[in-house]
């Protein structure tokens, strides 16, 4: 069930990605519509984070290309925002909440320059949106897991982008924070933004997302939730272990064979 859309906000064409020579994604091909919350769903090790990292250009693909707003990534970087996994940074770093959120403004501020008043106001505004205004001066290690996650989301909001990629924003987050984040995502799409979220809880997925990408090394489905959440497609995502792809991947990794013969990148 792979539904293609007209005038997609994101187009992924034949994207294959390896991680240390081991193929993690096989020929992903999909398009996403504007103004929806998209959930990337699949079991552990399905390549969910790898997919958004490849879209953001953080991992070089073996083959294929990504077009965002119909253009190349570099041309539209300022319109895209990224929330990495919370555990990917050291929260003991000597920085305050507002300093981290300010990082979302860095590409707008420019090299060698200091944050302007307008940037500080955007930061304050974003902290308000995630209910962290009282914590602005707090050192980031003194926050709870849910608060740290909201700091990252505020930083992404500060980018004032049109397309957001969030890697596991609900991981290690309390129920109240999870609800608050979901509401925020819905508000964002209501104002025309598009949000792509990596998520691994099937139960909540149907309520949270308008569109889902079912992923397990290969693309199983990309469609509105109701059409993608069929017993058969879910079984295909979570049930079978795709032993053939896994086995082949291991052979490629062991012998250090490149996945594609000629690199187009």
């Amino acid at each position: 069930m792979i539904k293609q859309v007209k005038d997609p906000i994101l187009e992924i064409h034949d994207l294959s990605v390896s991680y240390q020579k081991k193929p993690v994604l096989w020929a992903i091909d999909l398009t996403l519509p504007k103004g929806v919350v998209v959930g990337i769903i699949g079991p552990n090790g399905a390549g969910k984070s790898t997919l958004i990292k490849a879209i953001m250009g953080l991992i070089p693909p073996d083959s294929g290309f990504v077009k965002i707003f119909g253009e190349s990534l570099e041309a539209v970087r300022h319109k895209i925002s990224y929330v990495p996994q919370r555990e990917s940074v050291d929260w003991d770093f000597p920085a305050s909440v507002e300093e981290v959120v300010m990082m979302g403004r860095y590409n707008k501020i420019g090299l060698f320059k200091k944050p302007r008043k307008a940037d500080r106001e955007v930061v304050a505004d974003c902290l308000l949106k995630v209910n962290l205004e009282a914590f602005a001066k707090r050192q980031i290690s003194q926050l709870s897991g849910g608060q740290q996650q909201r700091v990252f989301i505020a930083r992404a909001l500060a980018q004032e982008a049109d397309l957001y990629f969030m890697d596991e924003p609900f991981a290690g987050v309390d129920a109240a924070t999870e609800r608050a984040i979901v509401n925020l995502l819905k508000e964002m799409t209501a104002s025309g933004k598009t949000v792509v979220v990596v998520h691994h809880d099937l139960n909540s997925a149907a309520h949270y997302f308008d569109w889902t990408i079912l992923l397990n090394l290969k693309l199983v489905a990309s469609a509105p939730v109701k059409e993608a959440f069929t017993a058969q497609l879910l079984q295909e995502t979570y049930g079978g272990k795709l032993t053939l792809l896994t086995e082949l991947g291991e052979i490629l990794a062991k012998n250090e064979i490149p996945n594609r013969e000629k690199k187009r990148y």
Partner: protein, 432 residues
Amino acid sequence: MNDFVDFFSLSDPNIRYVVLGTAFMAAGSALVGCFTFLKKRALVGDAVAHAVLPGICLSFLVSATKNPLLLVIGAFITGLMAIGAMDAIVKHSKLKEDTATGIVLSVFFGIGIVLLTVIQQSGSASQSGLDTFLFGKAAAMSLTDVWVFGLISLLLVCTILLTYKELMLVVFDKNFANAIGIKTKRFEMLISVITVLAVVVGIQSVGVVLMAAMLITPAAAARFWTDRLPVMLLVASIFGAFAAVGGTYISYLAPAMPTGPWIVMVISIMAISSFFLAPGKGILHRSLKIKRYQQKVLHENVLKLFYKTGEKDADFYRYYSFEQLNKLEEAAALQLKKALPKLTAQGFLEKKKAEYKLTQAGKKKGQRIVKLHRLWEMYLTEYLRLAPDHVHEDAEGIEHIITPEIERKLEEKLNFPTEDPHQSNIPYDHKN
């Protein structure tokens, strides 16, 4: 005292050069070190410091002079090569960063020592004084050295001030930096370059062997005092400069003493003191906090003992002697001898001859602890479904940390129960 005045008036031009030179050097390398420290690459600085030795020797062999600028260039080249080698090893082999660092350090340093021996045996070592690069010799600094090193340090400071926000982001969250289009490779290269520059400047006074200390120790010490990066940078450079001046002063008083090792000694003492004394994170502050809490627990337990004994005897204000109290089963773990005089001094107990009784304030406090204990037992049996004989131990700890807000919530949640799971009365204030 005369020495002190002579030294710190900086009237002797030689002293002036040495003091200014080492202070610039130490402040510069402390600044750079903050980023290496936060990047968790402390040992990289050590490897680079050792790897500049072959560069110094080579440029001496080629030019046959001890021109500081040429030596700096030679040192810079092999230092940068060392970083390149470490990155290449990690990227193209299965070896991890620590192993790569170890290999690069020893190989480069080994080559450096071989070259140094060659130079020494050629007979020109004595006039070249290259061996001072091993342990540093600040006292030998000339005006030219101070100029060259002062300028390089200034360059380091300006670079860090200009690129501060990008450096901070790249060190904190490289993925995000990449995602917003910052060329992180360039900034990582910049960190490598300024690390090598700091090392090149520093070895003149502290030598290749101890240089890593000048990079990392000020940063580690400063981290104890602050949670803000700008403050940390400032504190680290002040610590570094202070240690440089201090070390230079010591070696001025005792001319047989080498300057570099003394600078490192001073900064190490500062780091160790920070480790113990810094507010919040220091060991002393933390152990004081624990001590204070233990004392609070002891005092509350003694007042609780008085209250519960009074409950049994149906008289809260009866006098008890130390021996009487000490016999009680609940007093077994209590340091009564220590607590009784303290509580008397605080006005919670009253002493007559050798006997003590509760004051009104003391009774109120003891009663609150008993109430919290019994309320918590109720909470555990009702909400956590624990058996009544499993709740006492837990309540012994919790009774001391319940805040008035939680106390109120507990009362409301449990709807002001009058008896605990063991049918003891729960004493409320308003009933008296």
